[in-house]
């Protein structure tokens, strides 16, 4: 038992020391208990439940039977799962590049914009505030072949306008654009505050030495932003496996399974196909992938990569 400075200070006379000590030890837990119970009840308990369920053939109605690793074996042979996983990797490749680069470029322009900075920051962050269901619907309207953006494109004389959400080859990218539209502003704000913390003197010195703008950005600014960039990459990668919202609202995995992600596939197996046992296995596979990413970053950091 650790005795802290204030514990000694507070040892008032008249109370038996043993009882006081107990009270002292329990006090922090009394404050923690309600929050711990709530989190356990809603998040952690059910998470453990998922682990157990993945070993059963539960259909949601009849009592579950223990079937060992059977679900895991079927998962390894499930072409739909791997199709969804491939889409998640596409999603990850898209989101680790385009919104990150775009957010960084815009942030560096905004950081030089003087008085307008705050205005632009608020405006670019705005999509983050809009509810997913509404912004998904706005974009579904923009993508609509009969009165959306395609009517304008046709007026401009562009033939063969694509069916943004109907063509299986591009539907995933159309939805990703919407999610990216929401996401990049968040990254922009992170980059902007990181840029404000960079060393201005270094930049000035490079300028005095006659370095070009691009060279200053590449050799002076970018190295200082490395911690922010690697944090963003880790966040984005982990989050790519959990992506769900926009696909769920806009295409629900379709057309066919062109936009199916692990998240939507799991949801369908759990609540539509009455296979919660199997769905739990899918969820664990998803968590495992996120865990691998986290471990990878942890290892790199231990090796002194400064990520």
């Amino acid at each position: 038992m650790q005795v802290t400075a204030n514990a000694r200070m507070e040892a008032a006379p008249g109370v038996r020391p043993r009882k006081r000590k107990w009270k002292k030890a329990l006090l922090p837990w009394m404050f923690l208990l309600p929050a711990l119970l709530m989190t356990m009840f809603v998040v952690m308990g059910p998470t453990v439940g998922t682990l157990a369920l993945s070993l059963t053939d539960w259909d949601g109605i009849r009592p579950p039977h223990f079937i060992g690793a059977d679900n895991y074996k079927s998962l390894m042979k499930d072409p739909n799962f791997f199709a969804a996983l491939e889409n998640n990797f596409r999603w990850m490749a898209l989101f680790c590049t385009i919104p990150v680069v775009f957010g960084l470029i815009v942030a560096s322009v905004v950081s030089k914009a003087g008085k307008g900075q705050m205005f632009y920051r608020s405006a670019f962050f705005l999509p983050q505030i809009v509810s997913t269901v509404v912004s998904a619907k706005i974009w579904a309207w923009i993508y609509n072949p009969f009165f959306g953006i395609n009517t304008v494109l046709q007026q401009w004389g562009i033939q063969n306008v694509p069916l943004w959400l109907g063509n299986p080859k591009i539907a995933l990218y159309s939805v990703a654009l919407v999610d990216g539209w929401r996401y990049w502003g968040f990254l922009m704000v992170l980059f902007l505050s990181a840029l404000h913390q960079t060393d201005r003197a270094l930049e000035e010195a490079a300028k005095v030495d006659g370095a070009s703008r691009i060279r200053i950005f590449w050799h002076v600014m970018l190295p200082q932003l490395r911690p922010t960039i690697s944090l963003i990459l880790m966040m984005t990668m982990i989050w790519s496996f959990a992506a769900f919202d926009y696909v769920f609202v806009m295409t629900n995995g379709g057309p066919g399974n062109a936009t199916e992600l692990i998240g939507t596939y799991m949801y369908k197996q759990a609540l539509q196909n009455q296979m919660p046992g199997y769905a739990s296995t899918i969820a664990l596979a998803m968590a495992l992938l996120s865990g691998i990413i986290m471990a990878l970053f942890g290892i790199l950091r231990k090796r002194g990569w400064d990520v």
Partner: protein, 276 residues
Amino acid sequence: MKTRKPRASAISHLFLILVFLFAVGPLLLLVNNALKPKEEFMTKPFGLPSRLTLDNLTASWTQGHYAEAFRNSIGVGIATIVIVCMLGGLAAYSLSKFEFRGRGTVMAFFLFAMSVPLGLFLVPLFFMWQKLHLMDSLVGLIIIYSGIYLPFNVFLLRSYFVGIPHELGEAAKIDGCGELKVFSKIILPIAAPAFSTVALLVGLWTWNEFFFANSFIQSDELRTVSTRYLTFVGSFSSDWSKVSAAGLIAVLPMMALYLFLQRRFIEGMTEGSIKG
């Protein structure tokens, strides 16, 4: 630090205006469609209206049963805010002011709970809620929201509490205050800004949340704003004027809040994600 007057060239301003149109344009389209007379929607979908009308808004408000949905959303929001502030505040106080064995484990517990994707606990939660008769009830929804938003806000509050000097509480204790009284009479008033950030974020999240509200609530009269919008879209899918108006109604309250409290929104959402 030297403050240099930044020279913004015309090109970078042009660039920022284009980016602005990309970021805000879709929302301007929403406003445009909602306020445009219905008959003009088909003839010039992207054009400005010849006159502004509130007909779409009033029709969507009544046909979407938004009055009821607003009551539900506000009720769920306030209840969740109160629970998160109370339980989160107590937990954060404990984690910032006491040194005890197991503190690191508790922090790791909350950190883990914060980063668990919802897919990982959805299935058992769903069937648990059926067993406990919490399905299709706003109380059930409030409990879910409190549970999933608590961990993040414990960290947010803790990072604020850590900065409050220890001596303030100690002085009160010498005057005979108990730990709970120190918390409520001294820490709470000082930490009011942190609690208002929590209230703002939790309010925003509960308002916009649709996944749990959609899967765990079936009765129409219990729907929150975002799921009311979803059902509205389902039944009026061809009437884009009304759908746009319904969308505008759904986002307007948060837009108005954001207009006045941008800084608090932005800092709460980004700083939390970095520190966590």
